[in-house]
Symmetry: C2
Subunit: 250 residues, 2 copies
């Protein structure tokens, strides 16, 4: 049995957001990442794999395809034996009222979003609140770079200002004119807001945040003027979690 032309057309169309939305499907590739999604709550739609690994997907009703067919449907330079379609879940998960959250104000780069999702998973952040213009989390570059973390972090796309108006959680941004993060007492409950790669956090949001945190630059004044958004997120989340750890010790 081989893959049909209409299947190929469907799968390659899912590289584009509008077709992902239309079909409510997204693509996952590679043995490791597909395994993470199979173990998760995501609902499998269909799975294609090469003959040599078919035993691994016995329970998933695999369609066996050739390496050449896999190459046709894959978005990767080096396809890796398996490609699966999963359903995009409906946004029904209930908002968490408390806990540490990350808010993304127009993050453009799929690699940055993927890295931030992985970071949130590492640091136990359960929810990422994205502006409508933030890159789609079911974009294949995001899916592949999260290494399965997407299965454990709840991501929603909302109007940020409306969301902010309704929350009572403290709001944090990184800012060069803020409080030194090494000296700050950080709570276990709050929203860390990270801004667009080129423009930072939008002015409307900047005006209403309750806390500004500075990651100190070390050494000469002429040094780089900013950190990449994903590395700044890494440092801030590490500081929030370190506070909890140190508190437990004392």
């Amino acid at each position: 049995m081989s893959i049909s032309k209409s299947q190929i057309k469907l799968i390659t169309s899912l590289q584009q957001k509008k077709y992902r939305l239309k079909e409510s499907l997204f693509v996952v590739e590679g043995i490791k990442v597909v395994d993470e999604f199979l173990k998760s709550d995501f609902e499998l739609n269909s799975l294609f794999c090469t003959e040599d690994v078919k035993e691994c997907y016995f329970g998933s009703n695999p369609e066996i395809i050739t390496e050449i067919e896999l190459k046709k449907i894959s978005g990767l330079k080096s396809p890796n034996k398996v490609l699966a379609l999963f359903k995009i879940p409906k946004e029904t998960r209930i908002d968490q009222l408390l806990g540490l959250k990350v808010m993304l104000d127009d993050i453009n780069d799929p690699g940055n979003l993927g890295t931030i999702i992985r970071l949130c998973d590492w640091f136990g952040v359960k929810e990422i609140i994205c502006s409508k213009n933030t890159v789609d989390c079911y974009n294949s570059k995001v899916v592949q770079s999260t290494m399965g973390s997407l299965t454990r972090v709840n991501i929603k796309y909302v109007d940020l200002m409306s969301y902010i108006e309704q929350t009572s959680q403290p709001l944090f941004i990184a800012d060069m004119e803020g409080e030194n993060v090494y000296n700050s007492k950080l709570p276990s409950d709050g929203i860390v807001i990270m801004g667009n790669e080129a423009n930072g956090v939008s002015n409307d949001i900047k005006k209403i945040v309750t806390h500004k945190l500075t990651i100190p630059r070390y050494g000469e004044i002429q040094a780089t003027e900013s950190l990449n958004v994903a590395t700044a997120t890494a440092i801030l989340l590490n500081e929030f979690r370190r506070n909890i750890f140190i508190e437990k010790l004392s």
Copy 2:
């Protein structure tokens, strides 16, 4: 005057490492990044810009080209008015014996190397020691993503084992079986070693490192098994610099 075919051929060839080495030249693009390099110690070879910005490069003997010509020589999707060739400096800078350094064991991804260079600049790390198989720092994707930090951080490519044999600095790696980095007293002098994206630090090096540090994972056991190498570097360098800051306070 317009750009010659041989100039176009030379400039586009510099996208490849072997031609960069042969010509000892690399490409820098865009107003902001070119400005950083012009202000640095790097030696300008030639500069091409569009008519509308020629006044800005009065002192750099610019060759005026059209948008269409710029598109021919640019490696960017959206070329930005200026492209310059700079000389690759000879490795004559003297090794620093002390201070915080970063060592990279076969980092493959240009974006990761660019991010790490920017981080080193931010945190005042003056020297990055790369294995011979680490991606070339004059790769155009690295140059563009460093945002000029490349001008302030000394990068060398060496045999790591020989280098390690000759140093007396303490050696640190990130490892899940190490000491909790939140509890560790970190020195201002040492080498932080980061490994390949897929395989981590090589076993030969792992055997001889003096310190293993763990970035604690927060929450459930099923979380992501590793952090991206650039974000792990961000967190570790932040911890080293935080130690110095806190020490000064007390």
